[in-house]
């Protein structure tokens, strides 16, 4: 092993970590290669969302590479943050410290994103958030490197509180995980709910890997709320909903965007899931013209798992990043500057406009309800048409 081998090897192209296999076409080889990163939870309880996001980002790269008009050939490094802040910081450092990586699309878990934004800032790496919803990720700092294509939980909870209050519910019990994610939801939902005249009768923080909720739910049962508001991610949501049934708690189960995943039904079965509510930023992908295109391409690419709730955002964020590279070249500083000027940028999730904190303004929030083992847009559901009733509705 001589140093020469290593020198040449370092010049060699890094193999991208891909499940689908990138199409390395002949003409593409003539172009310069640009490395991009994707970070999300690829293992663990919320991996379904992460893998969906990763596939979507990969699809974006694949489509772009197939496009003869693109100036560069793109390679994607997908890394796993396991939805744990410490692991996230590790992989973020790994990507940020690699000078060849021009920009990344990162994080579904808010707790992880909160830990990594400083790393990106320190290394000047442009990072576009594709799924984390905590406001502080963009609003808690002045880092130009951080942008976000999806909405924050503020709008989500404003709509959620109003939606529920309009259905005539009066009392809520809150179960939230004690990460910033759960606490954030708790905070904003409580705020908006009180403005809408609702009442929180009990508020319980739980750890994000807790198994048994009978103690909390027993107390909630005593409080007899109309609705149990759950602020956390899918695996925890499944357990809480299961155990509500075990204790005979008949309240409506209202979740947050964190449970908008098909794996919710895998874990809980369609019967118990029935009537669960959740809220998600943006219009449903299938209703957007670009969304239909995305879903068609996703189908065609033959991934073995669904794009899930935030796949379209990952796709849009990756495209935005590649548009930036096309315009200003693979230079971190220039990309950061470019991101600061993004306005009405066309994407499959609707036009992207970043405010001074790099936050995309997504005003639209769509309520979903679980119906027959699927997430159905509320307006299209049998609940909205009056054919089925949520608990406590006459």
């Amino acid at each position: 092993m001589t140093s020469g081998t290593f020198h040449s090897a370092r010049l060699a192209v890094l193999t991208a970590v891909t499940a689908a296999g990138l199409a390395l076409g002949g003409p593409a080889m003539a172009k310069d290669t640009v490395e991009l990163g994707f970070v999300g939870p690829l293992t663990g309880g919320v991996s379904a969302i992460g893998v969906g996001g990763r596939n979507s980002a990969e699809l974006a790269v694949k489509l772009r590479n197939a496009d003869p008009k693109s100036k560069y050939h793109y390679e994607l490094q997908a890394l796993d943050d396991e939805c744990k802040p410490n692991v996230g910081v590790q992989v973020a450092t790994k990507l940020a410290a690699n000078r060849k990586v021009a920009g990344i699309v990162s994080h579904y878990c808010s707790a992880v994103a909160m830990g990594t934004v400083d790393i990106y800032h320190r290394f000047g790496l442009p990072a576009t958030v594709w799924g984390a919803v905590l406001p502080d990720i963009t609003y808690g700092n002045d880092y130009a490197e951080i942008t976000r294509v999806n909405g924050t939980m503020i709008n989500q909870n404003e709509v959620a509180a109003k939606f529920m209050a309009d259905r005539g519910y009066k009392t809520w019990a809150v179960i939230h995980d004690t990460t910033d994610y759960g606490k954030g939801h708790d905070k904003y939902f409580t705020k908006f709910l009180e403005a809408d005249g609702g009442k929180i009768v009990g508020d319980f923080g739980v750890t994000s890997d807790q198994q048994d909720f009978t103690a909390e739910l027993t107390q909630i049962k005593q409080l007899n709320p109309d609705v149990v508001y759950f602020a956390g991610l899918t695996p925890l949501g499944i357990r809480v909903r299961q155990q509500m049934d075990k204790l005979g708690l008949k309240a409506v189960f209202q979740g947050v965007s964190g449970i908008k995943s098909d794996s919710f039904f895998d874990g809980i079965g369609p019967d118990l899931a029935e009537g669960t509510l959740t809220f998600l930023e943006g219009a449903p992908a299938e209703k957007l013209p670009g969304g239909a295109y995305f879903l068609k391409e996703y189908q065609k690419a033959g991934f073995d798992s669904a794009a899930e709730a935030y796949g379209p955002f990952a796709f849009a964020a990756m495209n935005l990043l590649m548009d930036a590279v096309e315009t200003v070249g693979p230079d971190r500083k220039k990309i950061v500057k470019y991101m600061g000027t993004v306005k009405d940028h066309d994407s499959i999730t609707g036009p992207i406009t970043f405010d001074e904190h790099g936050q995309n303004t997504v005003a639209l929030i769509t309520p979903y309800v679980a119906q027959d083992g699927k997430w159905v847009v509320w307006a299209d559901s049998e609940y909205a048409s009056g054919k089925r009733k949520l608990p406590g509705q006459n």
Binding site: M1, T5, F6, A9, R10, A12, L14, T15, V17, L42, T43, D80, K84, P85, N86, V87, V89, Q90, T93, K94, A96, A97, N98, A111, M114, G115, T116, D118, I119, R122, F123, D177, T178, T179, D180, K183, G205, T207, S208
Partner: protein
């Protein structure tokens, strides 16, 4: 353990085998840290295995050991020089330096645990908790700009030690598996406590201020000869100094009367007590000093990675530390260095196997335990006089 001592003739050994080893390990370490392609990493691993095998067949091990123990001070100095050379060779590359420094810090942690496991025969399955105590101390004290970082690091050790005081009573009263459960319970308790309380950041974790010496912010890369170095260079150098210091201290401890007491307690508590050794005092000393070292390493670790969360200090992380001690060989400081490198670098370097790395790694540890239970570099018999084997 002692066959080397018996076989080896008692004449002074040359510097060559030891020096060659240092050189080889340094070059290898540099190569491994900079290897990016999978085939390079795998090639290097195969190379290491081959060299290990050939070395064993050719009986190189005893020669290196003899050379090392004859010229211990020189060799240790040479090892530090080799480490420094690697650090400077990597000085502009963030990630390899980060990995190297992490390895060094885990090595320091293993030195602390070694006092407990290796010398005194006490179990500690809460290593990550004491490590974490140091890191959290750094996070909290980092908020006060007037506290000098060196003091913060020291405070990390002190806090870890104070926490261990809580356990001292049950720890000296219990033995074996019963002691194991005390530390396991403490480890779980520590992590759960961090998760549920609000003040220390909860499950979310805390930012840690970077280290600043007067006029020297560790998070700015130093500029040498017009080239901007990675800011991790600072931490790597500091960790090297810390490793050297603690390594010397632990070696001193091992060779002192206290070290003898610890060995006596490990080998036979009853007999040790009969010879007038205070078993309790020895155990308390080992427990506190070991955890102090863990706390120091944790404090520097927290400053370096700049963000800590309870999930970094779980029972599994404690296990990782214990497996470093066991893989390396109980009571063998150099074994700890080797094992720390394996435990930290291997999963990182084998990310091709991304999801399979933990599986592979746990199987590897099982194999070592089954077929080489004394560890990779078993502990040698105490050596008081340079050039004489096993105290002869």
């Amino acid at each position: 353990m002692s066959d080397i001592a018996i076989d080896a003739p008692a004449r002074p050994k040359g510097l060559l085998p030891g020096a060659a080893t240092i050189l080889a390990v340094s070059v290898y370490g540099w190569a491994l840290l900079t290897a990016e392609e999978d085939w390079q990493v795998i090639g290097l691993l195969v190379l290491a295995a081959a060299v290990g095998l050939v070395g064993k067949l050719a009986g190189l091990g005893p020669k290196v050991l003899a050379s090392w123990s004859s010229n211990e001070a020189t060799m240790n100095g040479g090892a530090v020089l080799g480490l420094l050379a690697v650090i400077f060779a990597l000085s502009t590359q963030h990630f390899p330096l980060l990995m190297l420094t992490t390895t060094l810090l885990y090595f320091i942690a293993s030195l602390g645990l070694n006092i407990q496991f290796g010398y005194t025969g006490m179990v500690n399955f809460a290593g990550a908790a004491f490590f974490g105590a140091g890191a959290y101390t750094a996070a909290v004290l980092g908020g006060y700009a007037w506290i000098p970082p060196l003091l913060t690091i020291l405070a990390g050790g002190v806090v870890a030690m104070v926490l261990s005081l809580l356990l001292v009573y049950p720890i000296v009263r219990t033995t074996g598996h019963y002691a194991a459960v005390v530390t396991i319970a403490f480890g779980v308790l520590f992590k759960t406590f961090l998760e549920v309380n609000e003040i220390l950041g909860g499950p979310q974790g805390l930012m840690v201020e970077s280290m600043k010496l007067p006029g020297w912010d560790f998070n700015n890369g130093p500029v040498l000869f017009g080239v901007e170095m990675s800011f991790y260079l600072n931490y790597a150098l500091f960790a090297t100094a810390l490793v050297a210091l603690i390594f010397c201290l632990v070696r001193r401890l091992e060779r002192s009367w206290l070290g003898l007491h610890m060995d006596a307690v490990r080998l036979d508590e009853t007999a040790a007590a009969c010879f007038g050794i205070s078993v309790h005092r020895t155990k308390i000393l080992a427990f506190l000093s070991g955890n102090f070292i863990l706390g120091i390493a944790g404090a520097l670790y927290g400053m370096m990675i700049s963000f800590i969360a309870p999930a970094s200090f779980t029972f599994s992380d404690s296990l990782l530390m214990v497996s470093i001690v066991l893989l390396g060989g109980m009571g063998s400081p150099w074994g700890g260095a080797l094992a720390a490198a394996i435990v930290v670098l291997l999963p990182e370097k084998l990310q091709v196997l991304q999801e399979y790395r933990f599986l592979l790694f746990s199987v590897l540890v099982m194999l070592v335990l089954l077929f080489r239970p004394d560890g990779l570099l078993p502990r040698q018999i105490r050596n008081y006089f340079p050039g004489r084997e096993g105290g002869k």
